[in-house]
Amino acid sequence: MNFITEPWPWYVSGPLIGLFVPLLLIIGNKQLGISSSLKHICAACLPVQKIPFFNYDWKKNTWNLFLVLGITLGAFITNYIVDLNYEILISDATKVDLSEMGITNFIGFIPAEIYSWNTTLPNLILMVLGGFLIGFGTRYANGCTSGHAIMGLSLLNVGSLVAVVGFFIGGLIMTHLLFPLIF
């Protein structure tokens, strides 16, 4: 297979993601985690120093901001080299389910029918609400898929396991109970 043009299978990309756990530990003595970058952005850019939660030295965590800047750049460069606007080969069963929701365009990473600049007001509200839940939820749970699921589970941390169970309960409720009401 061609590693530049073709998508990477899970057994290549998963272990590579897992290697970031020892890489960050050995090279930077840092634990993998991405959602806290949102907190550092708040502390760095907004007048929030009077709120105890944000009253800390965000400059000690700049590594995390550089990491997410890199993530953005990495995706930008990859998209520049190989056009990422291709049809994702998801399972036929998912295609059938999504078509019933009115989603028939599988080009690109996100469904253009819902998430685009010229979308409807209800879809815009969904985007805002979804982002809010991601920000609020990750801080309330004290981590996200990287900090809890990958780093936390790698450490066999009980709190992380509880949080990951929560992530899946939330995702299943949204997909199976709320999506049929929304779409």
Binding site: Y115, T138, G159, I173
Partner: protein, 137 residues
């Protein structure tokens, strides 16, 4: 200058996220509908490699490249907030189809509209910061 290495790590990480399609809303839907092994394979094998690496680091007392002792800090267990915050995040994860890392990657990959959920995620963190003392943990 020591932060340059984190930009480079990020570039590699962002590349893996897009090449694995883990940033795809469609892949997340497939996962929550149990219709493909792809995302479970990614998360499962990442945790496997991460856990084995930590075991090796602990067993052989491996230090950082600069000779420091590697410190592990386990996130504390807060039963109420881990599960409640987890469920709230999960709702957003399925709705937007991405968690925080992929949000940045999607924006970088040219899906500029993702700046909307990024900004509202920052507002979500701000609201959490304001309410933290009043919320059960």
């Amino acid at each position: 200058m020591k932060n340059i290495k984190f930009i480079i790590f990020g570039i590699v990480f962002g590349t893996i996220l897009v090449k694995s399609e883990a940033v795809s809303w469609f892949r997340i839907q497939e996962m929550f509908r149990f219709q493909s092994f792809h995302m479970y394979g990614i998360i499962g094998s990442a945790v496997f490699v991460g856990a084995i690496s930590i075991l090796i680091i602990k067993k052989f007392k491996i230090n950082t490249l600069s000779g420091e002792q590697i410190k592990f800090s386990n996130k504390p267990l807060y039963k109420v907030s881990n599960i409640t915050g987890g469920v709230l995040f999960g709702l957003g994860w399925a709705l937007v189809g991405s968690c925080p890392g992929p949000l940045y990657a999607l924006f970088g990959a040219g899906h500029t509209v993702i700046i909307i959920p990024i900004i509202s995620a920052i507002i979500g963190v701000l609201v959490y910061g304001l309410l933290k003392e009043k919320l059960p943990h």
